[in-house]
């Protein structure tokens, strides 16, 4: 792909990111930050490419190390987000039956 089409994708994605979080409720700032952190471990794609690239043992092992670091972030990040969100969920659950009656 040429540089301009890559750049267009990049700029469009920037705008999507810009508009998508404006309406967040203050109570969800920390969970949103946790999920964005988990999502940013997409760097693992680069790490996987590096560890699969032939030609240099050093760069392969650097890639594998990066895969380990990024997967700590993926699993940890999503698990932590889920734990945080579970606390907000409890708030909704008891409320529902009460208002129903």
């Amino acid at each position: 792909m040429d540089f301009i089409s890559i750049l267009s994708i990049f700029v469009m994605a920037c705008f999507v990111g810009y508009y998508v979080v404006w309406s967040v409720t203050p109570a969800l700032h920390t969970p949103l930050m946790a999920v964005t952190n988990a999502v940013s471990s997409v760097i693992i794609v680069g790490a996987l490419i590096a560890s699969a690239a032939a030609g240099s043992a050093t760069s392969k092992y650097l890639g594998l190390l990066a895969v380990v670091l990024a997967s700590v972030n993926i699993f940890g990040g999503f698990a932590v987000t889920q734990r945080m969100l579970a606390m907000y969920k409890k708030k909704e659950r008891p409320a529902a039956p009460v208002s129903g009656k």
Partner: protein, 343 residues
Amino acid sequence: MMEHTAPVNPWVALAYLVAGVCFILALRGLSSPATSQRGNRYGMIGMLIAVVTTVLTHLNVGVWEILVAIAIGGAIGLVTARRIAMTDMPQLVAAFHSLVGLAAVLVGVAAYLNPVAFGIGEMVIPLIGDPFVVIHQVSRIEMGLGVAIGAITFSGSVIAFLKLNGNMSGSPIMLPGRHVINLAVLAGIIGLIAYFLTDQSGWVFWTITALSFVIGFLLIIPIGGADMPVVVSMLNSYSGWAAAAMGFTLHNTAMIITGALVGSSGAILSYIMCKAMNRSFISVIAGGFGASDAGSSGGGAAIDRPWKRGSAEDAAFLMSQAEQVVIVPGYGMAVAQAQHVLR
């Protein structure tokens, strides 16, 4: 030409696009409590699609090694996430950011050491002398930026973690002339990335990396503990930009889309958080304007508003005397499970 630089496989591009859409839905879902759980699930699905697609397109070498690496990292991540106390969450997120930063640096170094395999350089065989590799000029800038942002994310997050975790004093540490030092180091990094265009030798690359580690450290130490959540969010944004820059280097749309998404939404989130805390965004980022030596800056007066810290008894006394009490719910309240009492 290597696989991933050859005209893009449409199925791979499609899978990356789906992953990108999942991430957008994840961020969108997290903005309201009702959809937040679903949002988190979208995030997981998106990540699964991105990882599986990448592994499938690179089946040529060492799938087992990759799976073992993912298993090790995954186990560490899951155990940490389960064991950590709810109140230690902000520093855990900071620690996670440092991992993304370091991973970005490692990928950048791997690409620098092995440019031909990444499709960002070409082997030149001269008539006389040894063959050598020339890295494309665009790739040099992208790689330099990616490594620099990654390194800043790493060292900045480490400092944020140490401060939040109490291993380091939370009070701002003011170096004399820090603005001059910071600007000089930043100018040095930018200058070296520009110079990297004409000279791809090792010392330029390594100096960029080292200076970026230093500037990450310098930028975060003057920021006080109370502003740390904003800083963590800002570093989150940086980790996104680092991923996007590496995506440019590797011509990988998944990394570009997601990196840009995280980068811009992280920046907006930090801005929203500053607004919520009644702090000026610029002064938090520039560092330590809230501290005593900052009287020279115009914003100083607006920020040094009085606030009080009291014990639970004080609070109970005040509230029993008060006619109206405004309760501002936040993360701390959810941690204490206080919302049930309030209802």
